[in-house]
């Protein structure tokens, strides 16, 4: 406990792959945050989380304390409230939440209990994508163990606070990760996003005040309570607090995840942690935080991966899990892959997205196949400017346009070459194993 803790989220991960059971977790200092939280008022917990400048790690970066504060409490407020963990993790090239769910399930459970106490919710859901079979098993077991020690259920540790946690396995669809669609999914309805207002904090699950937070966001909470907001602020290299689970995939030497100070430079993650590119590959650009983030080009690789700095290079932190585009893969092919994903996962509710994304996908397929036409790039650019958040019902379509808009800018020459030469210049390497 006393040594400097600089990577709180991953500190309890054991070599060998098995997570700590409840006894091991307690020995390592687990459930101390909960014990402390139960001596505090909910308002004091929210105030501490606000002061820590914890921002959402699910992609949006919304300040967590402010989200919690919006939940009505007090005598006139609805008695029933819900805390919901977003463990859907289907954003392309993101794999950070899986690590926390599989390797630190008790940390997740403790985080849920404290956070539910802060908003005075008596029911919590962990919405997990169905493919995370191991995560679902381990969370379910951890919840049962926590219950057997009095951390869950009625009158937790004699505090009078009561909480039930449901681990819910999804049926599998990207839109379920959108927070309002997720609530609709939990209600057993076709999971379409909802119109806002009302915000979920006022009217969410079954019309009751609800908070939806990302896995990684919440896992910070027990540490903030145990060690305080000042310690948390000291972990980062930027104005917002904490660490970030950065990740890297693609043709790097050591793909993986690392818990680093929020605001670590992209180049440091690529070169030091991922070991740089494999021999024979060059990194041309990256998708910094999932399929819904704009490309960052080599010239900007010294950018700090924090919420403010990433805006300055025209992109965003997203999930913080970086994908390298190397010189042996075609940027147009990559865009085609991405837009196929978004077109397929569109829920179909609003016309611009339902009709626009398949159109974009078809044009990209044609360009990639050497059948592109002169006006195609204008049509693509038109979609980029049209599918913004005022014209679509949720952020799926604007997210889909982020990589496309930046690619039209940075890979213009490659797009034009495809159309001019009526073939993909990467034809020879496009479909190989390497």
């Amino acid at each position: 406990m006393e040594k400097q803790l600089t990577a709180p989220l991953t500190a309890m991960i054991q070599p060998g792959g098995m997570p700590l059971d409840v006894t091991g977790y307690e020995h390592a200092g687990g459930y101390q945050g909960l014990r402390k939280a139960l001596t505090m008022t909910p308002e004091a917990i929210i105030a501490e989380v606000k002061r820590s400048k914890l921002r959402g790690r699910g992609g949006g970066g919304f300040p967590t304390g402010r989200k919690w504060e919006a939940v009505p409490t007090g005598p006139g407020a609805p008695r029933q409230r819900y805390l919901v963990v977003n463990a859907d993790e289907m954003e392309p090239c993101s794999f950070k939440d899986r690590l926390l769910l599989e390797r630190t399930p008790h940390q997740m459970i403790e985080a849920v209990i404290i956070s539910a106490f802060a908003i005075q919710a008596d029911t919590a859901y962990i919405f997990v994508r169905a493919e995370y079979v191991l995560a679902i098993q381990r969370l379910t077991r951890a919840a049962a163990e926590a219950q057997s020690r009095g951390y869950l259920g009625a009158d937790i540790l004699g505090s009078g606070f009561t909480l039930t946690i449901h681990v819910h396995a999804s049926g599998g669809r990207y839109i379920c990760g959108e927070s309002s669609a997720l609530l609709t999914a939990l209600e057993g309805r076709r999971p379409l996003p909802r119109s806002r207002p009302p915000r979920s904090a006022m009217s969410g699950l079954w019309g009751k005040p609800s908070v939806v937070n990302n896995v990684e966001t919440l896992c910070n909470v027990p540490h903030i309570i145990t060690r305080g907001a000042d310690w948390f602020l000291g972990l980062s290299r930027c104005a917002d607090g904490g660490t970030k689970l950065y990740g890297m995939s693609g043709r790097v030497k050591r793909p993986g995840l690392w818990e680093l100070p929020l605001g670590t430079a992209l180049i440091e993650i690529l070169e030091e942690h991922a070991g740089g590119m494999q021999p024979g590959y060059e990194c041309r650009a990256v998708l910094p935080g999932g399929g819904s983030t704009a490309f960052v080009m080599r010239d900007d690789f010294d950018v700090a991966m924090d919420f403010t700095s990433m805006r300055k290079v025209g992109s965003s932190v997203g999930t913080g899990n970086i994908l390298a585009l190397d010189d042996r893969r075609c940027p147009v092919g990559m865009l085609h892959n991405l837009e196929h994903f978004f077109a397929q996962e569109s829920c179909g509710w609003c016309t611009p997205c339902r009709d626009g994304l398949p159109w974009v996908e078809r044009i990209l397929a044609a360009i990639e196949a050497g059948e592109g036409e002169a006006g195609d790039l204008d049509t693509l650019a038109h979609h980029v400017s049209f599918l913004h958040s005022d014209s679509t019902f949720c952020d799926l379509a604007p997210g889909a346009m982020a990589p496309l808009g930046s690619a039209l800018k940075h890979f213009r020459a490659e797009f034009e070459q495809h159309i001019r030469e009526k073939r993909c210049p990467w034809h020879d390497t496009a479909e190989g194993w390497a």
Binding site: M90, D97, E131, S170, G171, P191, W206, R329, C347
Partner: protein, 165 residues
């Protein structure tokens, strides 16, 4: 499918399964909220959800079949048509694409003679595309049934298939 198996899939849900679904509905509080769990339970027993079973589940959850079907058909992992003994979910998202998923798909086609969405003639495998499995640091990745595989390469892929009869 043998005739006996066909009959089983078209017979009414057994009492035990109906009780399990009723218990799920009870536990969920709002009955309809047990929809995905109930459909998955049926799928676990029969491989997919037939029209007949969908209607029965809907009745147990006090929904119309159309309502439940609008949920069932929305999800990538609820199968409304029969599948093979094993389901291969091959990731077709972007990190796997970079790392050679197209070649993996081509090899599966060569070995099994099926494209995504198809089932082998002997009913051994169904191949389905799946979005990012969150296993991108081990791309290309896939799942077979509930098992996850990564760092696929030509020899490894063949060896994995051997394990499923």
């Amino acid at each position: 499918m043998s005739t006996a198996e066909q009959d089983r899939k078209e017979a009414p849900l057994e009492a035990g399964l109906r009780q399990e679904i009723a218990a799920l509905a009870q536990h969920a509080g709002h009955k309809r909220a047990a929809g995905t769990d109930a459909l998955k339970l049926v799928q676990k027993h029969f491989g997919y959800v037939s029209d007949r079973h969908l209607s029965e589940v809907a009745a147990l959850l006090e929904m119309t079949p159309a309502e439940l079907d609008s949920v069932a058909t929305f999800y990538n992992l609820i199968f409304r048509r029969p599948v093979g003994r094993h389901v291969i979910l091959l990731c077709d998202s972007v990190a796997c694409w970079v790392m050679g998923a197209t070649a993996a798909r081509a090899q599966l086609h060569e070995r099994l003679g099926i494209h995504p969405g198809e089932t082998t003639a002997d009913g051994r495998f169904t191949l389905l595309p799946i979005v990012c499995l969150g296993h991108c640091d081990h791309a290309p990745a896939m799942m077979i049934d509930e098992n996850q595989y990564g760092d696929l390469d030509p020899a490894g892929l063949d060896a994995i298939l051997e394990g499923y009869k």
